[in-house]
Amino acid sequence: MTLTHSPAGSATRRRRGTARQSRAGMAFVAAYAVLLVAFGVLPTAYAVYFAFTDAGGKVTGFANFVTAGQDFRFLDAVSHVAVYLVFWLLSLVVFVVALALLLHRLGSGSAGKALRFLYYIPGALAGAASVLVWLFMLDPTVSPVSSLLGALGFHTFGEVIAPGNLPVLFTVIAFWTGAGGWIVVMYGALDNIPTDVMEAARIDGAGAWQTAWHVQIPMLRKWIVYMVILAFAGGAQLFVEPQLLSLASVGVAGRDYSLNQLTYDFAFQMNNVNGAAAVSVELLVVSVSAAAVFVARSGFFDAE
């Protein structure tokens, strides 16, 4: 990207425009790159360094991974996160796509606009705050929907947060806080499907269901994959929901529930930062591998 001065006036103007644009682009990318290095690459490298060394900085190979894996909470945490991911990803894919399609059928009228706004509101609340909202919602003594909880057979907070209910509860909370944004994204993607394709489908006699199943969902595939990759990485790092729940329930439910909580315990309660780093490196490897599989299988980066 060199700057050349051309004698031709219009060409110069055009080039200057391009140059200015690319300079602006560079500036934006540079800012992003700095942040990425400071908050993404360096901490990751630091964690990898910790994961393979001991408290004195001596290289220990996989000893930290063995120690972490042998902790009595490790396998439980893995299974908790796995079950949660199944619930979370399934509900996300099914409901987000379904709601986005419904929303799209409503069109851009006022009802559609209002719904889009409503879907998005919870996502605008900060994560921890929206979890706190749910802690009130789920306590039958103070909940505005206590009659609903009562109808489901829950009369005390203790009954609501029984161990078997936790994956569903965390999914509900995560869906409420996180899905709205994705619905709006999917709606945008649906809007981008060329009208001639939709019209062709209509002329061919496709109903709403067939259009959705054979035209819209296949064309949303990349967006769905993108959502699943990010949701998988986010879900594997489950932390705020169980941690706040464990505080709210004075430790009855949610303590040592997820892998991220285990890393927190390792780092701060057991003073074993290296073990904590080992678990977080494992999480990184799993998330990156899952993303790689999804990208490879879906042809995510193929040109349209």
Partner: protein
């Protein structure tokens, strides 16, 4: 890269530490421009530890909501002291907030509070290893002062013979009861656990809905099983614990609890739950519980009217020769080794634990400092809130069974996660004793304890 595990070669370890903290600084310096200095330069050995260079400036004090009054009162009485009062959860229910923060401060080499209150009494078990708690009996606090704390009160603060914290209050369990209600029902205060159980069964029949106790809190084992001399938490050495939850002393209390939970005269909600506050607070006939129930629970949370609540000794098993009771927490005050205002910090610490102005007159719990406890008892009698005197508290203060220790792992957290969910699902306490033991053993071992069962 930790501060508290000296490597074989200290110099080398320090080098590594520097290198690592340099790397850490490099990562953050881009955006925060934090000063990354070493933390050990220029210390003087005094009062049994290496003291940082002393400076002027505000004294940072961390307290929970209840102890906020103490800090504010100190500020009023000492307007010339610059005080920075920070409110935190007080590590309630073993939340480990303080420990988490200290581990972070140890990494950043700054930020430690000068004096900190914790509602937990096992803080010394980690705070000494973490290089946070300063020794108090090596010059900071006079031996004559320390000698006036109630017998055994500061045992939880003693690590390898050195004192690292001061006990705020004692939390010996007694039997709280609603005196007018008990009289109206025509019952008498039970003195044995057998009588207690019989009374619970009577209440269930004659006055269903009324309660003789609660078994739904994370500290439930400390009220009932500790008083029954259950060997669930016998700390036998700095890193050794003996755990046996299925002995006779545990099972008979568990059976008593099961019987009363079954007939609903014992609640499983937990006294601080929204459910209890809304539906059961005015149904309390009897309630075994710690000393601080009087002020914090009955007066503060339940807003029970005056002349209603009274305290009796905790029941004993029939034929028991040595009376025993349990203990729930009893906060501790720690002083930071890293403080740059040690003089001011020590003054605050001494005032807050011993001065009658707070401990004698204002404290919600039974002061650990015996002279203040005398004043406190007189004050409670004079206030006329309780129906009858609180002499049961004084008697119980020396009857806490010493076979239950304060390890690094939180017994409250273990009970909450292991036994409480089962109680909610209707399982019996007896049936969960083996699982409880299993869980204690696992937590103890993962914290580096050698466990004998």
């Amino acid at each position: 890269m930790t501060v508290n595990k000296p490597a074989s070669s200290p110099k080398r370890a320090l080098g590594k530490k520097r290198a690592a903290s340099l790397a850490g600084c490099a990562a953050t310096v881009l955006l925060t421009m934090t000063a990354c200095g070493g933390g050990t330069a220029g210390t003087t050995a005094k009062d049994g530890f290496a003291q940082a260079p002393q400076k002027d400036g505000a004294l940072t004090v961390w307290v929970d909501a209840t102890r906020m009054d103490a800090a504010k009162l100190y500020q009023r009485q000492h307007p010339d002291v610059k005080l920075d009062i920070v409110s935190y959860d007080g590590d309630a229910n073993g939340s480990n907030y303080l420990q988490t923060k200290v581990q972070l401060f140890n990494r950043t080499h700054k930020g430690w509070p000068d004096v900190v209150f914790s509602s937990q009494n096992n803080e010394a078990s980690w705070a000494v290893d973490a290089g946070f708690a300063a020794p108090l009996d090596k010059g900071l606090v006079a031996r004559s002062t320390l000698g006036q704390f109630a017998r055994g009160a500061n045992d939880v603060c003693t690590v390898k013979g050195t004192l690292y914290c001061l006990r705020n209050d004692l939390s010996q369990a007694v039997l709280w009861y609603n005196a007018p209600l008990l009289k109206r029902f025509g019952y008498t205060v039970p003195t044995t656990w057998e009588e207690f159980q019989a009374l619970g069964e009577k209440v269930a029949k004659e006055h269903p809905g009324y309660l003789v106790g609660d078994a739904g809190d994370s500290f439930t084992p400390e009220i009932y099983l500790w008083a029954s001399k259950c060997g669930a938490n016998h700390i036998t050495g700095p890193k050794a614990v003996s755990v046996n939850t299925t002995g006779e002393s545990c099972t008979r209390m568990a059976k008593l609890m099961d019987a009363l939970i079954e007939n609903k005269s014992m609640s499983t909600s937990g006294v601080f739950s929204t459910d209890f506050g809304k539906n059961e607070a005015d149904k309390v006939l009897l309630m075994p519980g710690p000393a601080w129930y009087g002020g914090a629970l009955f007066k503060g949370t339940f807003k029970a009217p005056a002349k209603q609540i009274a305290a009796a000794p905790v029941p004993q098993w029939q034929g028991e020769t040595s009376p025993s009771t349990g203990n729930v927490g009893g906060g501790t005050w720690l002083l930071s080794q890293h403080s740059t205002h040690i003089k001011a910090a020590t003054d605050f610490l001494k005032w807050v634990t011993t001065d009658d102005a707070y401990q004698g007159a204002k404290a919600p719990g039974f002061p650990a400092y015996a002279p203040a406890a005398e004043t406190w008892l007189k004050g409670q009698d004079a206030s006329g809130y309780f129906a009858g005197d609180l002499s049961a508290l004084k008697a119980a203060s020396s009857q806490v069974w010493p076979g239950w220790g304060s390890g690094r792992f939180s017994q409250e957290a273990i009970w909450a996660a292991t036994v409480k969910p089962g109680l909610t699902q209707g399982k019996s306490v007896v049936s969960m004793l083996p699982a409880w033991q299993d869980s204690i053993v696992k937590y103890a071992e993962s914290n580096g304890y050698k466990v004998s069962q």
